[in-house]
């Protein structure tokens, strides 16, 4: 089996904002496009125009509903739909690495990225089995394991302008719901964002210590509870019918630049 490095110099990863992700799948397809053309074997598609199209993706968006429980005698609050993008979380204790029989799976010392050396991969699938997140996919055409590389061939790439040295999914996300940086540095933008928004680990109970973090959706559907705060704003300007026009005249007089009221 394969050993993890004792520590990594940086912990590069993604921070994904579930309060902002609209589930548009831009990240999914941008990732597919970049990684088909770049690192290792292309991400193939089986039966692409047939009954059961099934391709290799390194990043997928799952959508699920949340039904909040009723509180007291009030009816249950409205259900919510969460869009949940998921790719390799580049765990500190990555079980997919330690389970690898050939050393093909490894975690990089310099940045913590978990990669597969396709030359050594025998396609046994043990790593996919051991990953609690289902983040690895065996490419059926190439017979090797594919996974998120955090765009290791972009983030240091001298052939790209500096601003483009970020993962393809982050560069393309229209809503800006994906952030990239060093989560090992408490002063990095991503670490600050995680601190500010109570960023979470995915399934911490698995003990994998994922590097990627998720920002939870903000509480929703709270406005009705604020009606008492907002009510004074809506106090009628006049109670009697016809009173509105009286208010209007007074209000118009108060407008800047009015010299007098008048009607004829």
């Amino acid at each position: 089996m394969t050993e993890l490095p004792n520590s990594t110099e940086r912990k590069m990863g993604l921070v994904i904002d579930l309060d902002t992700c609209v589930g548009c799948h831009a990240c999914v397809i941008s990732c597919k496009g970049w990684n088909t053309e770049n690192y290792g074997a292309p991400l193939s598609d089986q039966d692409p125009y047939g009954a059961d199209p099934s391709g290799t993706f390194l990043n997928r968006v799952h959508s699920f509903e949340v039904q909040p429980k009723p509180c007291g005698s009030e009816p249950a609050p409205a259900a919510q739909l969460i869009h949940f993008p998921k790719s390799c979380l580049h765990c500190e204790d990555a079980p997919c690495v330690t389970v690898c029989p050939t050393g093909a799976s490894y975690k990089r010392v310099e940045d913590g990225i978990v990669l597969v050396n396709e030359d050594n991969c025998i396609g046994c699938g043990l790593c996919a089995w051991s990953c609690p997140y289902g983040a690895r996919e065996l490419d059926l055409a190439a017979g090797v394991m594919k996974k998120c590389t955090l765009c290791v061939d972009r983030i240091y790439n001298d052939n790209l302008p500096e601003e483009d040295r970020i993962p393809s999914c982050v560069r393309t996300c229209p809503a800006g719901a994906r952030h990239f940086g060093d989560l090992g540095d408490p002063n990095s933008d991503v670490s600050k964002l995680v601190a500010e928004r109570d960023g979470m680990d995915l399934m911490p109970e698995m003990g994998t210590k994922p590097v990627n973090k998720y920002l939870p959706p903000r509480p929703k559907d709270q406005m009705e509870d604020q009606i008492d705060i907002l009510a004074p704003l809506l106090a009628p300007v006049a109670e009697e019918p016809g009173g509105f026009m009286g208010w209007l005249d007074k209000a118009l007089d108060k407008l800047p630049g009015q010299t007098s009221g008048g009607s004829n």
Binding site: I29, V152, D153
Partner: protein, 940 residues
């Protein structure tokens, strides 16, 4: 094994070359970087410098590579050799194809040009296709707006001289409350996603009003799961509460809207019309002097309150009528809560939050500006409430009035064209008066007398023949739908088939899947396209169709003109049409062939130029009879609409240094390519807000050629042209509506927004609302067969709310019969909790016909996929009055897709059914099917 890691190349070469062009995977028109390797497309990403997407790109855009290699691409021109619908074609040369078309169209033009109906679907070159049709001489031209969102467009233009669509945007940098009504994932999609991200990052609030909590609504902080079709009532209730509390912007209303304009209040032929001076300018009372004056005179402070009586005729300001109407308790939250499905308390809470943000969080920008009355302002006042809406509230028979109500709400709050509110993008704002009227002057062998589409100002502008019958095949601009500014593409086939108002010879269509998801009553439309008369001839004699792909429509045409993909062609995204501007600048763009086609196909616009040359159409022909343009690229550069104004605004003049106006620059396209495929001219900060009234903006717009003189105007809370139609219905004026339409015109053409329930006659027993939307990864895309995108959205169950699932003992994967008065379908269901209790919905246009789009016949799109279109008819159920009424908005004719009501019943065990019903027989594919595996890597 101890830790070891291989040395990898982290700086591989990315591509040989980057070619920058414009995406066409939907209507958003983002800038893209196409990375090339070995002359092939290797990777597509967003262009960071582009005004629309600023580097980001959606799933459709990134999947463009699968569109360019799609097996469904048509390969060569074809003529039909079997019966219509059989899919039997023979490939022919372009020479033969153009000859066939010209031989057919030439005699039509010589004899009666109206026998050609030319309708374009997902066309992004309407200023060109319209120019072609105008020079051909037929009045029968439009694009697909009539079945899409014309309510939103027309309501916006008539009310405030600009609409949502992609023609404006919330002030994302300053807004603090964003309200979104209905499904709106259809237009301006990346800018809206980016805007949502921006305001979310600031912690600003989003309120989503939509029966379905998906997409943008999924991230809304507040979700209002409204009953479909009641948005207008909800909005009028918000107006009621805000007006009653005085939470409206009186200063803004008096200065910039027609709230103070005096309206004749005395019964008679002038009732409801504006009091005007000799220059036809609406009059107001100046609050400073108490005198009557034109609204735009220097120093005038229009009074919202004063009444003016002269010669026994009383004139009251528009605002009086508004107060009278909207302060009525019929709009109180308690009165409308049940109808809208929103508790009264919640309506009040939302109104309170709007009031709080608009007024308590108002702010100022330190920016001087001068208004059209000559008054200097030291600051710009921000009201940080913004709103957006598109197809959702639009596609109802009360959609026009609902869209109007929404704009009136924005205007009452003073949140249009101010910091933090809604902002126009050039060429908007542009008042109705600056838009053309529609034209129908047809003469044999001549060009039409003006543009086809426009904005009517009253009954005199309707397109009627001398006998009062409709001039256009789609009956646009008639008493049935007077303000149908985008035409009615969805009525063309059924009207042509019925020979009502007349028969046509040739139906010519582009990118419009009318025999499938773009028609109501799909099965019926197929029958109309294949129906023969007593002589055995097709009732619609000749159909020419252009598409890049093997869509369902191909089999129903006689002649196919295969288009290129978007990376193989020239295009211009023009200020004459639907440009890519931003609120802070005018912008346009091009497409250019970043690869050459590997098939015998031609860009459709180039084919139109070639056809025009064969037919020697004016506008395309020099005085000596030679052709003006060789192809579309030639037209883009050399065509001038007016001297100095052409399809592209950038790099004009000999040296390419002029913007907006300037003589033709033969190197213009190269300049665009050098500049990344687009052009932007920014607006100075002084001109950036208050555009309809801002002298600096007006002068800038004139300089850019957007109009020829400054056009300041008032927002039209009260739309006088609508009142003119009512007056006709009341019996005034020479042009009179037919008797059966009088009452409807009186009721619906109200010049102040109203809400009415859509006609439920014949819907007894059908009580469940049924809606469709398209997934964000496919909206407005011609690529739902795309190998990557279909893996995201290859199935479309009917989503059913929890309550209806329980009531009907349904479980996920069960099948249900869904019926309407028009038909029934049998489809798989899936539960969705975040959904209005009495609404079902599905993804539109996932369902495909067997044999189309190069998919295998057992593809889920063709077996389980389905269309709700089978349940929707272009006519309402018979009412027993001997007439058939259109299933559309009575003002604009917009197709009322979202008025559908259904009944849902569980059927069979899942094993009994393998396919959704109705299952239409396969059509023969002209292109075969795709490969069994894809490993698309073009580099080494």
């Amino acid at each position: 094994m101890t830790h070891q890691q291989p040395i990898i190349d982290t700086s591989p070469k990315v591509s040989d070359e980057v070619r920058q062009t414009t995406c066409y995977m939907c209507a958003c028109r983002c800038g893209i970087n196409v990375h090339m390797k070995d002359g092939k497309v290797a990777y597509i990403e967003g262009n960071r410098d582009h005004p629309v997407n600023k580097g980001v790109l959606c799933a459709k855009g990134s999947a463009g590579i699968m569109q360019v290699n799609a097996p469904s691409r048509l390969k060569a021109p074809m003529k039909r050799v079997g019966p219509r619908g059989s899919g039997e074609f023979e490939e022919i040369s372009w020479e033969e194809a153009l000859d066939i078309a010209a031989d057919r169209l030439g005699p039509i033009r010589k004899k009666n040009p109206e026998k050609l109906a030319f309708f374009t679907g997902r066309d992004q070159s309407q200023s060109f296709t319209g120019f072609w049709a105008q020079n051909f001489g037929t009045q029968n031209y439009a694009a697909h707006g009539g079945f899409c969102s014309v309510n939103m467009a027309a309501a916006g233009i008539y009310t405030m001289g600009g609409a949502f669509w992609e023609f404006g945007q919330p002030d994302w940098d300053h807004t603090k409350l964003f309200m979104l009504f209905g499904v709106a994932e259809d237009h301006d999609s990346n800018p809206i996603k980016a805007g949502l991200g921006k305001i979310k990052a600031r912690g600003a609030k989003v309120i989503g009003v939509n029966p379905i909590r998906s997409g943008y609504n999924a991230i809304a902080d507040e979700w209002v799961g409204i009953t479909p079709g009641t948005d207008g009532l909800f909005i009028l209730s918000l107006i009621h509460v805000l007006m009653k509390a005085g939470k409206i912007d009186l200063d803004y209303l008096s200065r910039y809207t027609n709230a103070p304009v005096l309206v004749n209040a005395t019964e008679g032929p002038e009732q409801g019309l504006f009091l005007r001076d000799d220059d036809d300018k609406p009059l107001v009372i100046d609050r400073n002097t108490g005198k009557l004056t034109a609204f735009d005179k220097p120093g005038v402070r229009p009074d919202l309150s004063a009444v003016h009586t002269v010669d026994g005729v009383t004139h009251r300001p528009v605002f009086h009528q508004m107060a009278e109407r909207y302060l009525s308790e019929e709009y109180a939250p308690e009165a409308i809560a049940d109808k809208c499905g929103i508790p009264a308390k919640r309506i009040r809470a939302i109104a309170g939050e709007i009031a709080r943000v608009a007024f308590d969080e108002a702010f100022e920008l330190d920016q001087e500006w001068t208004d059209f009355r000559g008054e200097k302002h030291s600051k710009m006042i921000g009201r940080p409430v913004s709103m957006h809406s598109m197809r959702g509230v639009s596609a109802h028979a009360n959609g026009f009035q609902t869209c109007r109500a929404l704009h009136v709400l924005q205007i009452l709050l003073g949140t249009v064209e101010v910091p933090g509110g809604f902002r126009f993008k050039p060429p908007y704002p542009k008042p109705v008066e600056a838009h053309p009227k529609p034209h129908c002057g047809v003469k044999p062998d001549c060009a039409l007398d003006g543009p086809h589409l426009g904005f009517v100002r009253g009954p005199d502008d309707l397109l009627l023949k001398e006998d009062g019958s409709p001039a256009r095949i789609d009956k646009a601009f008639t008493w049935e739908n007077p303000m149908s500014s985008h035409g009615l593409m969805h009525m063309v086939i059924s009207n042509a088939h019925a020979g009502n108002p007349y028969k046509i010879d040739t139906l010519f269509m582009y990118m419009a899947n009318m025999s499938w998801n773009s028609s109501m009553n799909t099965r019926g439309v197929i029958d109309m396209l294949t129906d023969k008369d007593e002589n055995g001839d097709y009732v619609i004699p000749n159909i020419i169709y252009s598409d890049a792909y093997s869509s369902e429509m191909v089999a129903y045409a006689d002649l196919i003109l295969p288009d290129t993909t978007y990376l193989e062609r020239h295009d211009c995204i023009s200020l004459l049409d639907r440009p890519i501007c931003e609120a802070d600048g005018a912008a346009d763009a091009i497409r250019w062939p970043v690869i050459e086609p590997d098939r015998d196909v031609r860009g459709f616009q180039t084919v139109l130029v070639q056809l025009a040359n064969k037919l020697k159409l004016p506008g395309f022909t020099n005085e000596d009879g030679s052709a003006k343009f060789q192809d579309y690229a030639d037209y883009i550069v050399n065509h001038e609409r007016k001297p100095g104004i052409g399809p592209l605004a950038g790099f004009r003049g000999k040296d390419g240094d002029q913007a907006g106006r300037g003589e033709v620059n033969p190197d213009q396209l190269d300049k665009y390519i050098e500049n990344g495929g687009f052009f932007v001219e920014h607006i100075e900060p002084e001109a950036s807000y208050y555009k309809p009234w801002n002298n600096a903006y007006q002068d800038w717009a004139v300089g850019m050629g957007i109009y020829d003189s400054p056009q300041p105007y008032l927002f039209q809370l009260y739309v006088e042209p609508m009142r003119k139609f009512q007056l006709a219905a009341e019996g005034h004026g020479e042009r009179q509506p037919p008797e059966h339409l009088r009452e409807r015109i009186k009721a619906t053409m109200d010049p102040l927004p109203i809400w009415y329930d859509t006609d439920q006659t014949g819907n007894e027993g059908y009580t469940v609302n049924a809606l469709t939307q398209r997934p964000m990864a496919m909206y407005h895309s011609w690529g739902s067969q795309n190998a990557w995108l279909r893996q995201l959205h290859g199935r479309n169950p009917l989503y059913v709310p929890t309550k209806l699932m329980r009531d009907n003992q349904l479980q996920d994967g069960d099948w249900a019969k869904v019926s309407s008065p028009h038909g029934e379908i049998t489809v798989p269901v899936m539960e969705m909790a975040a959904l209005n209790d009495n609404t079902v919905w599905t993804w539109n246009a996932i369902g495909k016909r067997k044999g189309a789009w190069a998919l295998e016949e057992d593809a889920p799109e063709a077996t389980k996929g389905f269309l709700l279109n089978h349940l929707i008819h272009e006519l309402l159920p018979p009412k027993g009055d001997g007439l058939r009424w259109a299933n559309s908005d009575p003002i604009t004719g917009q197709a009322a897709w979202f008025d559908l009501k259904v009944k849902i019943e569980k059927v069979g065990a899942p094993d009994d059914l393998a396919e959704s019903q109705p299952a239409l027989p396969p059509i023969k594919s002209p292109v075969g099917t795709g490969p069994e595996e894809l490993k698309w890597k073009v580099g080494k």
